[in-house]
Symmetry: C2
Subunit: 218 residues, 2 copies
DNA sequence: CCTGCGCATTGATCACCGTCAATAATGAGC
DNA sequence: GCTCATTATTGACGGTGATCAATGCGCAGG
């Protein structure tokens, strides 16, 4: 993942990557309470992370796609603090955290890169707080779709046509809404002509207007 | 902050701490967009961090008290991604991030400690997402007060009697509620006999019931 | 092909919380 | 001590989204 390494260092980082691991759709990569040993970089596939509170509430805290890193929440306590579950058949690289720590002590670039990744995760979480704290249902939905669009685009896929891997309920959990509200919101955006929804398939017709729909009433 | 260092290493970590800096009530420690150079450890006082979105929305993302670290959000982009503002006259230790990086390459304990702090910040943020995504107004308030109580207690102050430093509006922003709802919620908890509110002064009478009030309807 | 199950859509109703508004209390500054 | 601005409380009302419920769709498996 990091760039700008010497050939020699690059080799060593390559060795850092332990095994690969396949995770079938619906199966957990790790569960809350399991001992934390490794980080996971997604090679292919799609995941959700989900926190479960003492009183049984569930909150999806994120959806992860290829290239993204999972497991950072486990470093602090030595135990995973959320569930990570595959939304489609997926493959991850296992990155033993001990080895990453050692190596990042020797390779500046790797250390910096790792710190940046953690920091960006914090910034991302803050953006979700903003979404949950201040946006109305349709704004949240627009923000979610724009975010998906950008992430697909940055991976070379279409920014305007993609298949969601998660259910309405999972979207709702992530956005702090009920699944009915998600469904209604999508129908509404469709009526307004911003996009077409057909089950999990989304076709965005007016990306700019969708971005504007993230802001309060016109 | 880290413990378990040799005397020698302890000296070096001490040197890591740059200047101290005083921040008067209401003044910013840093603002969004400023270049990121240092982390800040609070010696005394009380801060809030706040994200401001492009369309002008504000979201308080946290309240920080003595011993806590601020500025982690800046590492990823090299710029601060939120405002940090003192809620009372405060003093912080400036920790130049370059020096921290260097030193943590040499001192394992420091490296581990730093990684844990970042990870815990991520877990904390996820707990806030859970709060914003799944809890009703009064549950959020109870959770907020219990959290404050615990943090005061862990610093040697009373767990049942303390002064909030922030306004109802700031509490509301943090909890995704309007200030009126915060006020009503506090009044309600008071009517129920769980606590006494007098402006910013909180006296908790039934901490266990307050904890129960974090969960859905009795 | 049909069956059954999970997922999605849509409608009707209701409750929670936001909004608007008026008043009160607090604290800083002169 | 008085004034003013800020902060907090409380009430009335309305809207957004939750809840309850019924129907429809799509897909895996027999």
């Amino acid at each position: 993942m990091p760039v700008g390494l010497s050939d020699n260092d690059l080799e060593r980082v390559d060795e850092l990557i332990g095994a690969r691991r396949r995770v079938a759709r619906g199966m957990p990569l790790y569960l809350t309470g399991e001992s934390f040993q490794s980080l996971y970089a997604i090679r292919t596939g799609f995941f959700k992370t989900e926190v479960i509170s003492e009183d049984g509430r569930e909150q999806v805290t994120g959806f992860q796609m290829a290239g993204e890193l999972m497991g950072l929440d486990g470093i602090g306590t030595g135990q995973h603090n959320c569930d990570a579950r595959a939304l489609e058949d997926s493959e991850v690289c296992v990155i033993p955290f001990n080895r990453l720590s050692e190596l990042s002590r020797e390779i500046d670039t790797l250390q910096h890169h790792f710190h940046k990744v953690m920091s960006r995760e914090i910034v991302r979480d803050q953006a979700v707080m903003m979404l949950l704290g201040t946006m109305r249902a349709e704004e949240r939905l627009a923000a979610f779709l724009v975010n998906m669009s950008q992430r697909f685009a940055s991976r070379g896929y279409s920014a305007t046509e993609f298949n969601l891997r998660m259910t309405r309920e999972e979207i709702g959990s992530y956005l702090g809404l009920k699944l009915e509200t998600v469904s209604r919101g999508l129908s509404r955006l469709q009526e307004e002509g911003l996009l077409t929804v057909q089950n999990k398939n989304i076709r965005i017709h007016k990306l700019d207007e969708l971005k504007r729909a993230m802001s309060p009433r016109c």
